[in-house]
């Protein structure tokens, strides 16, 4: 009665991995020329990390029962600060550090508004999303920043180069971030605090967990990782645009929820988010290569999201 087999504990991870494998098989059968070659995987590995990294941070936020809608603007701001500093100082290291600080500060401010002032996170961050996007527009006067020459710098190779000539560096960064986040979420006291805060903040408080500090930390971490993503995009593309981050809003949430993290808080999966991001990242190329028109992309996203979330809910009910 009290026993849950190993399969039961990891059912959702098995399921989502299975879905990814099935999708890859289907796409390979439909267009072997594309999916049996390396280039498409290099394309995936060089683009998925950009929204996967914010998705990892978002996983923690949602487990903590917070919602961060501000992140696309945080990405843009972090990227802008980095790009502006680099074009004016030429120092990659300095620009990266200050860019990361800027993103973290934006995240911290979001946390402050939510925790100390008490505005519900979804509302507060919708507001700050507009605010920071506006700030970025004003600062850049609507113009993109040209970062030609960034590809010749030494640090470029570290952030957006190709290991052994083939593996994109950002994929390694994303992988490393995922490992760290997994350790933090599953093995560290901070991850524990996030879980309890999201499960039941009253209970968490009574257990002596500093709920306020935990929530602010989650927002700050989001800001940091978003800035990291924005900076990596700049280095990869050799350019910064005022629209940076705009396309990621739905991709990030889709990755998190497909991965099995519950919208009710208290439970989540870093592994799931990684797989979810990969699934979302391969859909469009897969169906276009297969010959379906790009109009199908959103339909596919929708089906995948609703199916996987329904699956998780049914699973959760069964386990009760």
């Amino acid at each position: 009665m009290h026993k849950l087999s190993s399969f039961g504990k990891y059912t959702s991870q098995f399921a989502i991995s299975l879905l990814l494998i099935l999708m890859l098989i289907a796409f390979t059968l439909a267009s072997p020329a594309t999916f049996l070659g390396w280039s498409i995987y290099e394309a995936f590995l060089s683009t998925i990390p950009f929204f996967a990294i914010p998705a990892l941070a978002m996983t923690l936020a949602i487990v903590c029962k917070e919602m961060d809608m501000c992140f696309p603007s945080t990405i843009a701001l972090g990227g802008f600060v980095f790009a502006w500093l680099w074009t004016h100082t030429g120092s990659l290291g300095l620009s990266i550090v200050v860019g990361l600080l800027a993103g973290t500060a934006v995240g911290w401010l979001n946390g402050f508004i939510v925790v100390r002032v008490g505005v519900p996170s979804i509302i507060a961050t919708i507001g700050t999303q507009f605010f920071w996007r506006g700030v970025v527009m004003l600062l850049c006067a609507g113009l993109a920043l040209d970062l030609t020459g960034i590809r010749e710098t030494a640090l470029h190779h570290v952030f957006a180069g190709r290991l052994f000539g083939v593996v994109p560096a950002q994929a390694l960064w994303a992988f490393g971030t995922a490992i760290l986040m997994w350790l933090m979420f599953n093995r560290h006291v901070f991850g524990d605090a996030v879980r309890f805060t999201g499960d039941n903040s009253e209970t968490a408080l009574k257990m002596g967990i500093d709920v306020d500090r935990t929530r602010i930390a989650v927002f700050s971490l989001m800001g940091f990782l978003c800035a990291l993503s924005g900076i990596m995009v700049c280095i990869e593309m050799g350019s910064w645009w005022p629209t940076q981050g705009e396309g990621y809003l739905l991709l990030v949430f889709a990755s998190v929820f497909i991965g099995g993290t519950s919208a009710f808080g208290g439970q989540g999966s870093i592994y799931g988010t990684c797989i979810g991001a990969t699934i979302i990242g391969i859909v469009e190329a897969g169906i276009i290569s297969a010959g379906l028109s790009g109009f199908w992309t959103r339909t596919f996203y929708g089906v995948i999201i609703v199916t996987s979330v329904s699956f998780y809910n049914i699973l959760a009910k069964r386990q009760k």
Binding site: M1, H2, K3, L4, K9, L183, R187, H188, V189, F190, D192, R195, F196, D199, N200, E202, T203, A204, L205, K206, M207, G208, I209, D210, G266, Q267, Q319, K320
Partner: protein, 254 residues
């Protein structure tokens, strides 16, 4: 001999509502105190103050003779003093695993803050088997709390308190939603607290249950202590009568 816990003139109001008015009493170090009274008597407010949820407006309390500074007193502080509160339903986080619930807020960690999970899981099993004496085979500490029955959950919360050597376990209506058999279990746990040499404040509407396990009874009414009776000086019927007469009294005009 200094009492383990002493309350002196604790008062608390919420806006115009006076929740506690100059509550004073002592608690011994191996005493089970039954706290009874009608709804609105102030029992919840009192234990919230004791467990660090909020400070009193006036008055003070002390442990082992040392006065508590209410400005710095918090839930975490209360735990450090050895006070644990077990509620009907808010002591455990249902979705989280058993071992996390046991060690939340006081994990065994290494220097970087990483939890020693294997150790904690082993200790959790010990609590489940030794203290709560669960007999199911192959119990997995990774299971979420939601797989436990109501009585087992109370058991886990109490067992946790005992594991961490809490000196005072406050039980707030622990048996209200439970079946008879589960209730018996919980009363058994309370007896274990006494056997272990600790103190307990037991709040309940069920006089019979309170009478069965407590050594002393405190009756509260409208924010004040109106009776302080030792078990040996009364009977179940006597206590019940006393409580009824208190509840039916007129509100004294100020």
């Amino acid at each position: 001999m200094t009492p383990f816990l002493r309350l002196e003139n604790i008062s608390k109001s919420f806006g115009a509502v006076r929740s506690l008015h100059e509550v004073s009493f002592d608690l011994g170090s191996n005493e089970i105190l039954g706290l009874i009274g009608d709804n609105g008597a102030g029992k919840s407010t009192l234990i919230k103050i004791l467990s660090g949820v909020f400070p009193p407006d006036s008055g003070a309390f002390s442990f082992d003779g040392k006065k508590v500074n209410s400005r710095y007193y918090s839930c975490a502080q209360a735990r450090k003093f050895g006070i644990e509160t077990v509620h009907q339903d808010r002591s455990l986080a249902e979705k989280q695993s058993l071992w996390r619930n046991v060690f939340a807020g006081r994990h065994i960690t290494n220097s970087l803050g990483f939890i020693r999970i294997d150790l904690e899981k082993a200790e959790t099993l010990k609590i489940l088997y030794d203290i709560i004496e669960l007999t199911a085979d192959g119990l997995d500490p990774d299971l979420p709390v939601s797989v436990l029955s109501g009585g087992e959950r109370q058991g886990l919360a109490i067992g946790r308190a005992m594991y961490f050597q809490s000196r005072l376990v406050i039980l707030d209506e622990p048996t209200t939603a439970l079946s008879l058999r589960e209730t018996e279990k919980v009363l058994g746990f309370i007896q274990k607290i006494k056997d272990a040499g600790k103190s307990c404040i037991f709040i309940s509407h069920n006089i019979a249950q309170v009478f069965a396990v407590a050594d002393r009874f405190l009756i509260m009414d409208r924010g004040m202590v109106v009776a302080d009776i030792l078990k040996k000086d009364t009977s179940l019927i006597g206590l019940t009568d006393r409580l009824l007469s208190v509840c039916q009294k007129e509100i004294p005009h100020a």
